[in-house]
Symmetry: C2
């Protein structure tokens, strides 16, 4: 759980990154930026800031903000109630992001996994996205990603998000964000 | 059909608008911008420029460019082969766009329909989108849209696009783009 102060500070930082990336959001969106610390309370190394634009039965679109070297931990999107899992495309809008997926291990990857949690990072085929570049993940594919030196703003285009169904490699992770009162 | 020269000029203009909106695209995307004149050869008043980011079985994302007062003509996305029609969300990134949908007719709408084709514009409930604002259209809903004085750049998040199945109110329209050799 992160403190209310950390939460508000992360929201403000995320707004600054979005502004730097030239991405307009409404006042309501700005007030409701999601800060995910994945239950680890190490937001600086493991975390993600999200503006969810829409999440209907069929379509979801989000803007993701990653602070410098911040990591979204390894997970996959399994089938839910007979329907195929979430398919998602990441498109880098600003900064740089390293995505890791199954496949040949990249010899000298750019990312360093969060300290103390290295064993929960098991896929090491690296895809580097600069602004304007994108990568599509089919359902149930293990993946994790980390921003470069400047941080990153990444659009996500996908089928419906059901975050509560995501399966994380790290058993210590809780997806549902909690903020101290 | 538009001439090759018109086509290339429209592509270049679209690239300029995307740059102004701060949206990065790859060299390949820049070279393949779609210019739709809807078979009317009146691109200035009826037309749309598109960067299709992805279009899988389940998810589609595009960037749409509209020149000042350019109109995407009235149409709907019907069910196809038993599957529900396309659901789409328009999110204004830059400029201003007026969307028209079924509902109470707006007394003094901002858009003026393309000259000589006024009768093919039948829905007049206006939704105005400024940067950061969005609107979601459920399948089979008649709609058309027009950019404001400066033009517009609009992100589209949707289920799979099957442009060839779109039903236009104007019987003179052909969706598949044709360019003279």
């Amino acid at each position: 759980m992160i403190s209310k102060e950390q939460f508000q500070q992360a929201q403000q930082q995320a707004r600054n990154y979005l502004a730097r990336a030239g991405i307009a959001i409404t006042a309501e969106e700005a007030a409701n930026i999601e800060v995910a610390d994945f239950g680890l309370n190490e937001l600086e190394q493991t975390g993600l800031e999200l503006v969810v634009y829409l999440n209907t039965e069929r379509v979801c679109a989000k803007e993701l903000v990653l602070f410098p070297h911040q990591t979204c931990p390894e997970h996959r999107h399994p089938p839910v109630a007979g329907a195929p899992g979430k398919e998602e495309t990441f498109r880098c809008r600003w900064g740089q992001v390293y995505i890791y997926v199954p496949g040949e291990t990249t010899p000298h990857p750019h990312a360093v996994p969060p300290r103390g949690r290295e064993k929960t990072y098991t896929v090491w085929h690296e895809v580097i996205l600069d602004p304007g570049e994108q990568y599509t993940l089919m359902p149930n594919t293990l993946h994790w990603f980390q921003a470069g030196d400047e941080g990153a703003v990444v659009s996500e285009f996908s089928t419906r998000s059901r975050d509560e169904s995501d399966i994380f490699t790290d058993p210590g992770i809780q997806r549902a964000p909690k903020v101290a009162e």
